[in-house]
């Protein structure tokens, strides 16, 4: 590794045009708004993974304008700076990037504007949307899920699958109270290779890691983050490595791409939201849509 003290500082980079992440922006901004009075457990049990991936929602958040604000700040963070943002920064009008603290402040502004009030017994807890802990969870999770979806789709491209047919579950950020991911891996049906949690892309273990029925804190996706506040992610494993550890036989074919990576593209998500919501209502007669809010059906 280079010793920073021994090497002179590099010259500042040349100014290049902004490279906004348009695909990520569209992915984040095209999700449907789903106000709901259901809690996390109920949402996990009743909504399909595809519907959750097509929606912006938060457990027991019924105010559409707040969800709209969450969707907008997520899309802005994911997109990164545009030419207009650079011009505004150069003119001293605004910062270049939407920071995490500022994103949370914008959502908080909307909560106050919409007269949001937490339940008396939830005030000051993680269930209170005005707490920094809840806002941090919302912004961090939404940003991570949008990035996770994009990485997942990219990892399943045929050429990438051919060269990197497997991936490893790895820790990318330390946790103060880490979950036992090796145990989760085994519960999800995974096999370890010399202690490494490696599986072919598209293997059932990736869906299982995000399955609410198995892990109540799971997010319902076959890609990271698999659970709230998780410091785990995935790392490509090459064909040579996969063969060396015994995960693949030499000469075997690459895994087939997950068809969801094609059907759950950003455009399709936006088109499918209403259809997916209708399916959820048809499959769960104990919930209903009242004034645009998903609620338990009154008996």
């Amino acid at each position: 590794m280079a010793d920073p003290a021994a090497i002179p500082a590099p010259p500042p980079p040349p100014r290049r045009p902004a490279r906004p992440f348009i695909e990520g922006f569209l992915r984040a901004s095209s999700r449907g708004i789903l106000p709901t009075s259901l809690d996390s457990r109920e949402l996990g049990a009743r909504l399909s993974g595809e519907l959750r991936r097509s929606s912006t929602f938060a457990a027991r958040m019924e105010i559409a304008s707040v969800l709209q604000r969450i969707r907008d700040v997520t899309a802005t963070i994911v997109q990164g700076p545009t030419d207009a943002d650079e011009a505004a920064r150069d003119a001293g009008e605004s910062p270049l990037l939407l920071s995490l603290p500022e994103a949370k402040a914008r959502i908080l502004d909307e909560l106050y504007r919409a007269n949001y009030r937490p339940a008396p017994d939830e005030e000051g807890t993680i269930k209170d949307f005005t707490t920094d802990a809840r806002l941090d969870l919302i912004v961090s999770t939404n940003e991570a899920v949008v990035h996770g979806h994009g990485s997942w789709v990219a990892s399943l491209e045929p050429d990438v699958l051919d060269a990197f047919p497997a991936q490893e579950l790895v820790r990318v950020s330390p946790a103060e109270e880490p979950r036992n991911w090796t145990l989760r891996w085994m519960m999800a049906g995974g096999t370890t290779y010399g202690g490494r949690m490696v599986a072919l892309k598209g293997a059932p273990v990736w869906d299982a890691l995000g399955n609410n029925a198995l892990f109540p804190d799971a997010l319902g996706n076959p890609y990271p983050p698999f659970a709230f506040n998780s410091g785990m992610d995935v790392r490509d494993v090459s064909r040579a490595e996969a063969e060396a550890i015994g995960l693949m036989q030499p000469g075997s074919a690459a895994p087939r791409p997950d068809p969801r990576a094609l059907t759950e593209g950003m455009r399709v998500q936006a088109d499918r939201f209403d259809e997916l919501l209708a399916e959820a209502l048809a499959e769960n007669p104990d919930i209903e849509l009242v004034d645009g809010v998903l609620r338990p059906r009154n008996p």
Binding site: M1, P4, I7, A9, P10, P12, P13, R19, F21, G80, P81, R89, G92, E93, S94, P95, L96, L97, S99, P101, E102, K104, A105, L108, D132, L135, D136, S140, E143, A144, H147, G148, G150, S151, A154, D159, V160, D162, A163, F164, V170, R171, V172, S173, P174, A175, E176, P224, G231, D233, R235, D236, S238, R239, A240, E243, P250, G251, S252, A253
Partner: protein, 197 residues
């Protein structure tokens, strides 16, 4: 940052294979390999970077997840979030948007939180240093005096030194990418090839 991938084409079988491989597919593999190296470094940096209160910083996890590979028939690249550049190249951060000062968290409650989200902070000057603080009236036998809790220091600019260790070196990129490309072309199963004819 640029690098060269040197592929050993001494073997006739490899030369034959390379003539048929689409540059687009090769560049996709190069970009993906470089992405893995970059992300590995971010995960490594995350193990020793702490916030001022000793807690693990979430920053490098966000950088890991926000990085992506891009490629075409003529180029391969890894795009990392813009914030990485400040760490790698260093620089001076100044307030923008009409603000006159940057807010530097002074206690753990202020970390990752915008000053305006507190809604009750006031500007104070302590030993010549401007700060945003909460002023609370003391109760009990100390009633009559105020308790001051500083949440942010107000500064005109912050200078960050360059830190080259947040990215792999060019030599590390070259070695890792070359290894992945050679593995790809040296394996028993031929790589995906375009239809002949």
């Amino acid at each position: 940052m640029s690098y060269q991938v040197v592929i050993d084409t001494a073997r006739p079988s490899l030369r034959k294979l390379l003539r048929r491989v689409e540059p687009k597919a090769l560049n996709k593999i190069i970009a993906r390999s470089a992405l893995r190296l970059t992300r590995d470094r971010f995960a490594q940096v995350a193990t020793y970077m702490r916030n001022p209160w000793g807690k693990p910083a979430q920053f490098w996890k966000r950088m890991y997840r926000g990085s992506r590979a891009e490629s075409s028939s003529y180029s391969a690249a890894v795009l990392v979030p813009r914030e990485v550049a400040l760490h790698y190249y260093g620089g001076t951060v100044r307030p923008t948007g009409g603000r006159k000062a940057l807010t530097i968290p002074a206690n753990a409650s202020a970390y990752r939180r915008s000053a305006k989200s507190f809604r009750d902070l006031v500007v104070v000057v302590l030993k010549g240093r401007a700060a945003l603080a909460r002023v609370q009236e003391r109760k009990g036998r100390n009633k009559g005096s105020d308790k001051l809790t500083v949440y942010y220091w107000l500064v005109g600019a912050v200078r960050m030194k360059p830190n080259l260790s947040v990215l792999p070196t060019e030599r590390q990129y070259q070695a890792g990418i070359s290894r992945d490309v050679m593995d790809y072309f040296s394996r028993g199963t031929p790589p995906r090839l375009p239809p002949v004819g």
